[in-house]
Symmetry: C2
Subunit: 256 residues, 2 copies
Amino acid sequence: MSQKIISPKVTLVGAGPGDIELITLKGIKAIEQADVILYDALVNEALLEYAPNAKKIFVGKRRGYKAYSQEEINHLIVENALNYGHVVRLKGGDSFVFGRGFEELAYVELFNIPSEIVPGISSSIAVPALANIPVTHRNLSQSFHVISATLSDGSLHPDFESLSQLNGTVVVLMGLSKLREIAQIYEKNGRGNTPFAVISNGTLPNQKTVTGTSENIFDLAVKHKIQSPAVIVIGEVVSLSNQTYQSIHFYQNFLN
Amino acid sequence: MSQKIISPKVTLVGAGPGDIELITLKGIKAIEQADVILYDALVNEALLEYAPNAKKIFVGKRRGYKAYSQEEINHLIVENALNYGHVVRLKGGDSFVFGRGFEELAYVELFNIPSEIVPGISSSIAVPALANIPVTHRNLSQSFHVISATLSDGSLHPDFESLSQLNGTVVVLMGLSKLREIAQIYEKNGRGNTPFAVISNGTLPNQKTVTGTSENIFDLAVKHKIQSPAVIVIGEVVSLSNQTYQSIHFYQNFLN
């Protein structure tokens, strides 16, 4: 009997923001060629159907409970690559946007296992876009700032204070539980009329968007029962989402 | 003879950063179903082969010369949708990241033409990633800031001053001609040792990366003949690109 020769390889694939067709062609090809797939909670599980014969291991959080520590995930990736060949590490969004993808690849390199990076569509840009909010817009926003609401110790990210004083769009990931505190920073800094949007389940059929200002967004999010995962968008571009071409151009000319 | 019924539709598709396989599955499907494709200079033209029978119109800049004004592009989109049906507007990267995609869709809406948005992989995240630089990394960078180097009047974006004082990663698009000025802001603010990377032709076979600090990056980019299109990355994450797992973990523990 012939024995399969194992060629270990790890491909880090960004699965995109949720919609199954928002993965790249390169990502699909990697999944099709996978011997093993390790996937997270925010990955659309329908993507696993591209690899009917691969071994699938869920390594995400469920009901707030982590199945594996980061160290265990690192070991699982290497162990599976050495034993089965091509491991696809499938993460929601893009693996390098708060995804710890780099740490995993650095560990894989210790074992001289070849690796590849396949970027994914990041929720930070695509979720606002599909809620009709462009993160940049001529004359309104020439920059955008993507931030996790908390530092690793759970405290509010200190940069909100500075960001609330810039003109660019602020996109907050994993921030719903800090929405009230973030909005209060804007109010405190005299920017109580800053447009806010909260988008849950972005790009999916159950996507839900609530828009308001720093003064009322927390109450509106509670009222509309917005739940995680949610993306918060802050800045003038939020007000574009409900406007017509005429009013947008009036607004632009007004700003010029 | 039967006559084809025209159903006007416009799909705004992000083509990704250059690599032909870094377009989404949804983007490819839109191209395959296009009657007309309007595409920009930074789009990989190999993508047009997915639509052998579609009419293709190049509307980008060549040698600094614009074939069409933004207003003319808006008209072309609508005119082609009304006359031929499904227009795919194909832009480099993501259409909502300095892409004026929103303006075009707003114009299309005036004519009650249905439209759809297909996000693309943005160079702002993917180009650093494929140069081995994660825009975020636990303990090093819990935010990233994407900025165009200049405002629409050609002056340097005023927010570099504030951004140079935050800890997050700064990603500058369309900024090569302002590299010297940007680096000088960091030096002036006592951050002369901040790591800088300049990546040209990111994700393509001719990708070129130069890394240094705010003190020497301009000279290095000149020396290595870096040309546009280029992405500038600023911040501690740049120093990860050449490090091993051990040194990364040493560095992290050092910071903790």
